[in-house]
């Protein structure tokens, strides 16, 4: 699978959906393809994270450590993005992600991400829009919960 397919997948992710395909292609080209085997951890809860992973193919479990061992809280698959918070903020990983099948990802490092945003500010605006949507949705959920 080559660059063009990676770009097609990136476009399906809301965070990148409205960004110029050429920029996405550059981002894909400059990032590393990373393959995980079943059982391998993509990231571990509590570790310092410096990159996000975009799943191109395969599936993974999101696990949260508890006293009684890890608890599965969700599973992710194709076109999902993992760990995007870590490239925006310096917070430890909030969960462990473990591959359950052969997992193909695109690894977007913090450096690469910030460089892209600096060089192409319209990308930053797009990301702000997506984050604002999320915030709005969260607020709506909160209101509904009350």
């Amino acid at each position: 699978m080559g660059l063009e397919q990676e770009v097609a997948i990136l476009k399906k992710i809301p965070l990148f959906a409205r960004i110029d395909p050429t920029k996405l292609k550059l981002m894909a080209f400059a990032s590393e393809r990373m393959i995980f085997k079943p059982g391998q951890a993509v990231c571990r809860q509590g570790d310092v994270g410096d990159s996000a992973f975009i799943i191109i193919d395969g599936e993974a479990d999101i696990l949260i450590e508890s006293d009684g061992g890890p608890i599965k809280v969700a599973s992710v698959g194709r076109n999902d993005i993992i760990g995007e918070i870590a490239i925006l903020l310096d917070v430890p990983r909030t969960a462990t992600v473990q591959a359950t099948s052969d997992l193909q990802t695109l690894k977007i490092t913090k450096d690469l991400f910030f460089r892209m945003v600096t060089d192409f500010p319209e990308m930053g605006v797009e990301i702000m829009r997506v984050l604002a949507h999320r915030l709005d949705a969260t607020n709506a959920q909160l209101r509904a919960a009350r």
């Binding site: 699978m1 080559g2 660059l3 063009e4 990676e6 050429t22 292609k25 550059l26 080209f29 400059a30 590393e32 393809r33 990373m34 393959i35 995980f36 085997k37 391998q40 993509v42 460089r115 060089d119 192409f120």
Partner: protein
């Protein structure tokens, strides 16, 4: 050193000077005869004076008995000579002339060679003595000298002396003699004229040197400013970080400009004065003939002097200016080199110097034993501050002692005194009852180990740096083959004649015994043990994996590594990681390697086969054509160019992405854009040769698995494999040494050890592939007992200038290992771990103390809390000993130590 240059030369080259003088004197008669001969050839040989007719004969070569007329009243002959006709006489005279030309030439050759040799020997002696002084100066003196300035002195400033030394005595004697003869002749011919000539000569001889005094002073200044310039330039280089981080480059420029301006002024002043003096000198030389013509003429007119004598006087005077001018030149040169010499010597006159006996290599060295004791130790620095103030202690040589205190406690000065680097100002410091300041350097340098806060590494390999502490004296005489023995004997004799060191640098200097080793292999083992103690074995192991060996020299290791290659495959399969390394396969394309590697299937040994040179290599081009790959690769190049132009078009030039990711330089991007437009208009096939070549260069660095442009399909893979075989055959035929091909069964000398073990490429994009494979390699090597062989290669790692290829922690670790290797009776560590992080430092102290169990350690600690691992803790403050004892006791009951621990 001898402050007077001429005395220095005379004392060290008397015999040779006299020999040369003798040669010069012997050569003089031949020279005078050859001057006289042309007149004889013209008068007798050609014009035939003395011949009455064509058949007449003259005698030639008659040798009269000296003074025979006076003794016997008639001239008698030792040899009657030959009777020759005119043409025969002409030939005989001419051949004599030719003979004399040869003799004079040979004399000149011999004399000049002797002078040159003498000068070079003296220069060598002088340079050696200066360097010898540097090796004997104490730290306090060395601290006052700038290394760049000293280097200029030893290298450049003494250089002109070599040219002068051969002429130092011969020239004045020879020219002075000539001038005096001519002068005496003039005085005999006419006293008044002679006196006038003499008077002017005296004026020249007195006035000119007087005028030159100022010139000499300027010369002195010129030398000083030039030396300081050298020092300043090296400061600028050493301080380059400070220059850039403080934006002071323009200040440095201004500073440099002012210095250069000063040098210019001095040099220009010298020129002006030099030519003014020259003018005066010439004028005086020309005035004398005026006196002769005018005054002598008058004397002749009024009959006080006959004309013949006047002509003779003028002729004699004509001979005079030459030698006089040369003498004046000689005098100027003498003054010049005298000043240079004095300027240099001045810097080397310090009394702060060790007696040569203290560095005698043959002094027997007994192991140190007993106690180290200090009694009212005082050290005062140049400002008169008492850095160490009345410290007394005593401890057994084999105990582990920590010295703690803050930066102004004087702890480091105590350490420097312990190893004899600085001498105590007052008080007494002894080891086993012997005064430490009297101990020869051999006792201190062989029986004690020292590592300071900023250790120096020599720009050599790790191994050379580690064994540096074992090179005290030659262990074995070097054995030279018969054919070279004479040359080496000559070299040794010549060294002795110049008063140089008589030890041979080619001898075996490394004292393996004192490192506890017998041969090179066990020495390497000791070295590896020492680097393990300082926690650096892992680094050396990694250097080794990236290093390479010559399989011809170490066939065993090469064979073992081939077995490791096989074992690694097995191991990777066991841990389920066999897909992490894609092995080289002669019949397959390796998508994790570059296109260039896939085509070459080997490691280039010649630059013609480097990645960037492949597209211009005729062998490669021929093979691409033959495999019908050329058009395909140009097409791939076109796709790469298209993608690059598309991706990088909006990035500013100089963006880091270009360097990291692009196949095309930012500068070339516009050209490629046009090229692509041309290709789109005409098709790639319609491009010119230059354009095609540009595109062809692009795919060679391409790695399918990494760059993911989907360029390589099965057809192309097949074509590349075909081309690979064609290239191999052509290389084998035309330049078999240019490429070392990949061969699963043989060791690749051009590749690193790691590449040899892997025999393939790490797969791109597999999580934790590198770590997993690295672990597997380490395990395999350990199981096969090959880790040591790898570390031995790691010892060949070149540390770079000042050890700059290592980081500061690694440098300090090596310095401690260097001190450990000679297994000293006492190891003195002076804040050598200051650059390390806490965990590393703690680990290091622990292992070093463990390794030195039962042997002495004195450790100046930068953190007081570390002292808990030592037998004995000495606490200093403001140069005074505050308290001493076991760490636990002091931490509980002491006053200063708890404060220091809290302050950390």
């Amino acid at each position: 050193m001898e402050p007077n240059l001429l005395r220095y030369i005379w004392r060290n080259s008397r015999a040779e000077q006299i020999r040369i003088l003798f040669l010069v004197i012997v050569s003089l008669p031949f020279y005078y005869i050859s001057l006289n001969l042309p007149k004889d050839i013209v008068n007798r040989g050609i014009q035939g004076r003395g011949f009455d007719g064509p058949m007449d004969t003259e005698t030639f070569g008659a040798i009269p008995v000296p003074f025979s007329e006076r003794i016997f009243g008639e001239s008698r002959m030792l040899f009657e000579g030959f009777s020759l006709e005119q043409w025969q006489l002409l030939m005989a005279l001419s051949l004599t002339f030719l003979g004399l030309v040869c003799v004079n030439g040979l004399f000149k050759l011999v004399v000049n060679t002797a002078k040159g040799r003498l000068g070079e020997r003296m220069l060598r002696r002088l340079r050696y003595e200066l360097a010898d002084h540097l090796l004997r100066f104490r730290q306090s003196q060395l601290k006052r000298m700038k290394s760049a300035e000293v280097a200029t002195m030893v290298k450049d400033e003494v250089e002109p002396l070599g040219g002068f030394i051969g002429d130092a005595f011969v020239t004045p004697v020879f020219l002075g003699g000539q001038a005096m003869t001519a002068m005496a002749f003039i005085l005999v011919q006419s006293l008044p004229l002679g006196l006038v000539a003499l008077a002017i000569l005296v004026v020249q001889a007195v006035l000119i040197p007087k005028l030159r005094v100022k010139l000499l002073l300027l010369g002195k200044e010129r030398q000083l400013t030039a030396r300081q310039l050298a020092g300043r330039i090296s400061e600028m280089m050493d301080g380059s970080v400070e220059v850039h981080t403080n934006d002071t480059s323009n200040f440095e420029r201004a500073e440099l400009t002012s210095r250069l301006g000063k040098i210019f002024e001095i040099r220009f002043e010298i020129y002006k004065r030099k030519f003014a003096i020259k003018f005066l000198n010439n004028f005086l030389s020309q005035v004398t003939p005026f006196v002769f013509y005018a005054g002598g003429g008058l004397l002749a007119i009024y009959g006080y002097m006959d004309i013949g004598a006047l002509v003779a006087v003028i002729a004699a005077y004509k001979d005079l200016p030459g030698p006089v001018r040369d003498l004046i030149n000689w005098e100027q040169q003498r003054q010049d080199v005298r000043i240079k010499y004095e300027q240099v010597i001045e810097q080397f006159q310090s009394t702060d110097i060790m007696e040569p006996a203290l560095q005698d290599p043959d002094v027997p060295v007994a192991p140190l034993e007993g106690n180290i004791s200090a009694n009212s130790l005082v050290y005062t620095d140049e400002n008169g501050d008492r850095l160490v103030d009345g410290v007394s202690f005593e401890f057994p040589l084999d105990s582990h002692v920590a010295l703690v205190g803050d930066a102004s406690s004087g702890k480091d000065q105590v350490a420097l005194m312990l190893v004899g680097l600085v001498a105590p100002t007052a008080g007494h410091l002894a080891i086993g009852g012997k005064d430490l300041t009297r101990l020869p350097e051999s006792a201190l340098g062989r029986r004690m180990g020292y590592a300071g806060p900023d250790a120096y590494l020599f720009p050599q390999s790790v191994r050379e740096n580690l064994v540096y502490g074992l090179r005290h004296r030659p262990i074995d005489e070097p054995v030279y083959p018969e054919s070279e023995a004479a040359v080496h004997k000559w070299r040794a004799d010549e060294a002795a004649r110049s008063g140089n060191c008589l030890l041979d640098v080619n001898a075996e200097w490394v004292d393996r015994i004192s490192a506890g080793a017998q041969d090179e292999e066990s020495l390497d083992r000791s070295l590896i043990q020492a680097v393990s103690v300082v926690d650096m074995e892992e680094d050396i192991y990694r250097f080794g994996l990236n290093g390479s060996i010559d399989p011809e020299q170490r066939p065993g290791v090469a064979q073992d590594l081939l077995r490791a290659r096989v074992a690694l495959t097995e191991r990777l399969r066991e841990v389920g990681a066999d897909s992490f390394v894609v092995r080289f396969d002669a019949d397959k394309y390796n998508p994790n390697a570059t296109m260039a590697e896939n085509l070459l299937f080997g490691t280039p040994k010649s630059a013609d086969f480097d990645v960037d040179a492949m597209a211009d290599n005729p062998i490669v081009l021929r093979a691409l054509d033959e495999a019908e790959l050329m058009d395909d690769l140009v097409q791939k190049g076109f796709t790469i160019a298209q993608t690059m132009v598309e991706l990088f078009a909006d990035l500013p030039p100089g963006h880091p992405f270009f360097e990291q990711f692009s196949f095309i330089d930012a500068d070339d991007l516009p050209e490629f854009r046009q090229l692509i437009q041309r290709a789109e208009a005409r098709g790639v096939a319609g491009l010119g040769d230059d354009d095609r070549r540009r595109l062809l260069r692009l795919p060679f660095r391409y790695i399918e698995a990494r760059h993911r442009l989907d360029l390589i399909d099965e057809t192309l893979e097949r074509e590349v494999v075909t081309a690979r075989k064609l290239i191999a055959a052509a290389v084998e035929r035309e330049c078999p040494d240019a490429v070392e091909f990949f061969d699963p069964a043989s060791y690749n000398a051009a590749a690193s050890m790691m590449d040899n073990i892997l025999f393939g490429r790490l797969v791109f994009g597999q999580a934790e592939a590198q770590e997993t494979v690295g672990r597997a390699v380490t395990e395999v090597l350990r199981e096969m007992d090959l880790r040591e062989a790898v570390c031995r290669v790691g010892l060949d790692f070149q540390v770079g200038v000042g050890g700059k290829r290592l980081n500061a922690t690694q440098r300090q670790k090596l310095a401690i290992a260097r001190a450990l290797i000679k297994r000293p009776d006492v190891l003195v560590i002076n804040e050598a771990t200051a650059v390390m992080d806490g965990a590393t430092r703690a680990r290091l102290i622990h292992t070093v103390l463990g390794y030195r169990e039962g042997a002495g350690v004195v450790w100046v600690l930068e953190r007081a809390a570390m002292a808990d691992r030592f037998d004995d803790v000495i606490v200093l403050r403001q140069g005074r000993l505050m308290e001493r004892g076991k760490y636990d006791d002091l931490a509980r009951d002491g006053t200063t130590l708890p404060q220091l621990v809290d302050a950390d």
